[in-house]
């Protein structure tokens, strides 16, 4: 059969991110895929060599707008490994709380976008409504909705106040309840099943071969998670479980993220309850010559940092490896043999990282501001219901929407 090359990019069709895929297709089937990256290569490893050890956390925080605490966390752990610095208990708990809150908002973001991609804007709006308070929690605890600036070599920069905790508990309870409700709806929805089950399967062998990370590898039934594989912060001091799911398809990847959300919210609650008193940082005077490895489980998988020092106040070499770097090449294993229509969804299922910093307001054609997120949810739900009624099909997600009405 005749082969055609379809270019996807240089912007991702679903996530506004610079990647370029060349899909080779025969009819509707994808037979080969070539990936081009580097459009946003900023030379941060080289730039880091010109910054002092204390400035680097601010630099690496800007690698990613979503998992912005994972990079500084992995970096400070690398320097602490290099210099043999012991971090106070209270700082370890604060690090855990920030890292898990980040997973909560990041997974909510993805679940919402996934719903949006397959035409379920109801899901998108509901999920993002529950994500917003998590960002408010960040603002309360860290002083910023994104880029928290919390990590420093030897501890954390800012202490938490117990006065903020009742609000955080409330938001986490709300997140758990909302996630469980949404999980039930997603698991039972026949349309979602049809779109995601058996689509873009990453087998166990390919998951290991491509060294995939995070929810991508755990959706193939492999319990790889840095939080237990090489415990850091306070993860070995609280009870929680690594979430895995069998199947390796888009459905499994969504399921892992939904189930992880609940675990993360529980970790945040436990850490707040057990937060020990004491200092939040060890004083660090200078960094000796040597080398260190630090890594952390970001929402998308392991973030890896290697730092080498020659005794000066800047790193001699700083190597960074983000999780999407190893997850994206696995498209070669998951897209080939699938329909073109599913290729974009499959590539979005690994949650390749992009920065979302914009907020929006809807303005009617007469210039009136239509209002807040609630109105958007209402409009979206009305539209979905109208379309579904025309088609004569009621899905569990619709029924869920009805039960939540009013």
């Amino acid at each position: 059969m005749k082969r055609t090359i379809i270019p996807l990019g240089p912007f991702h069709p679903l996530l506004e991110e610079a990647e370029f895929f060349e899909l080779t297709v025969e009819g509707e089937k994808v037979v080969d895929i070539d990936l081009h990256v580097g459009y946003v290569h900023r030379g941060i490893e080289k730039l880091s060599e010109t910054k002092t050890f204390d400035q680097v956390p601010f630099l690496v925080e800007r690698i990613c707008g979503i998992c912005s605490t994972s990079h500084p966390l992995a970096y400070v752990q690398a320097v602490e490994d290099l210099a043999g610095i012991k971090v106070p208990e209270r700082a370890l708990y604060i690090r855990t709380i920030v890292a898990e809150l980040e997973r909560v908002h990041s997974h909510l973001l993805w679940v919402g976008l996934a719903g949006h991609f397959i035409g379920y804007d109801t899901l998108f709006n509901w999920v993002w409504k529950y994500r917003e308070p998590v960002l408010d929690v960040f603002e309360n605890l860290c002083g910023n909705r994104n880029h928290y600036g919390m990590m420093k070599v030897g501890g954390v920069r800012r202490d938490f106040s117990k006065d903020d905790f009742p609000f955080v508990h409330q938001v986490m309870d709300q997140t758990i309840a909302a996630t469980e409700m949404l999980t039930g709806a997603v698991m039972d929805d026949p349309v979602l099943h049809a779109r995601t089950k058996g689509v873009g399967v990453l087998t166990k062998e390919d998951a290991i071969g491509y060294a995939t990370l995070g929810p991508v590898v755990r959706a193939s039934g492999i319990p790889d998670d840095i939080r237990t594989d090489d415990p850091y912060a306070a993860y070995d001091r609280v009870d929680w479980k690594v979430v895995t799911y069998e199947g390796g398809d888009v459905f499994a990847k969504a399921a892992v993220r939904l189930l992880e959300l609940v675990e993360s919210a529980k970790i945040v609650k436990t850490c707040m309850d057990r937060l020990p008193d004491g200092p939040i940082a060890t004083e660090v005077r200078s960094i000796p010559a040597g080398e260190g490895i630090g890594h952390a489980e970001a929402p998308r998988g392991e973030v890896f940092h290697y730092v080498r020092s020659n005794g000066k106040n800047t790193p001699e070499r700083h190597k960074i490896r983000a999780p999407s770097y190893v997850n994206i090449p696995s498209f070669k294993a998951t897209c080939i043999g699938e329909d073109i229509a599913d290729a974009a969804l499959i590539s979005a299922a690994v949650d390749p990282c992009y920065c979302c910093a914009e907020r929006m307001a809807v303005v009617a054609s007469n210039g009136d501001r239509l209002g807040k997120g609630d109105d958007l949810v209402r409009m979206s739900r009305e539209k979905s219901r109208r379309l579904k009624d025309e088609l004569g099909q009621r899905t569990p997600l619709d029924k869920l929407g009805d039960s939540l009405k009013g």
Binding site: G38, H41, Y210, D230, P231, F304, Y306, K319, V326
Partner: protein, 152 residues
């Protein structure tokens, strides 16, 4: 945990003890193994196939007198990082590719080829990864002698 109980590290020493140069245990779960470029692929295969080692990434460092490559293998069950450290000669550093062992090495090696000018023999698709197509051939920004591109 104590590194003396790390099965993968002990097995590595037992099997390849006479072919590795040095083994340093720098902390409770970080070990660095120094070896020659000829032995490295065999040890990498051993760690991956026999002891579930996952190649986290490869760090390349220009040490001025040569190129140092560090292969970071994570052994999840043992909470252990084993880093294989080898040194390649300038001006044309070369080592055997690990791409036939696992596809995860394909991008890692392409990046090192791109930024540090290391050639991986037996690589199925050794071409530029992150630098733009218009970047001049033979210029590698992570080399110490790189001072930027001329304006022309």
């Amino acid at each position: 945990m104590n590194l003396s109980k790390a099965v993968s590290l002990n097995e590595l020493r037992r099997t390849y003890g006479d072919r590795i140069d040095k083994c340093e245990e720098v902390s409770a779960n970080r070990a660095y193994v120094y070896l020659s470029p000829a032995v490295l692929p065999k040890v990498a295969r051993f760690l991956h196939k026999e002891h579930n080692g996952r190649l986290a990434t490869v760090t390349g460092v220009d040490t001025r007198d040569g190129i140092e490559l560090l292969y970071h293998f994570l052994h999840p069950q043992e909470h252990l990082f084993i880093t294989l450290k080898t040194r390649l000669d300038k001006p044309s550093p070369e080592i055997e590719s690990l791409a036939s062992l696992f596809p995860a090495a394909i991008w890692i090696e392409r990046e090192l080829y791109d930024l540090l000018g290391v050639t991986f023999t037996g690589h199925p698709d050794l071409r530029r990864l992150v630098l733009p197509d218009s970047w001049p051939e033979g210029v590698h920004p992570l080399r110490r002698d790189f001072k930027g591109l001329s304006e022309s």
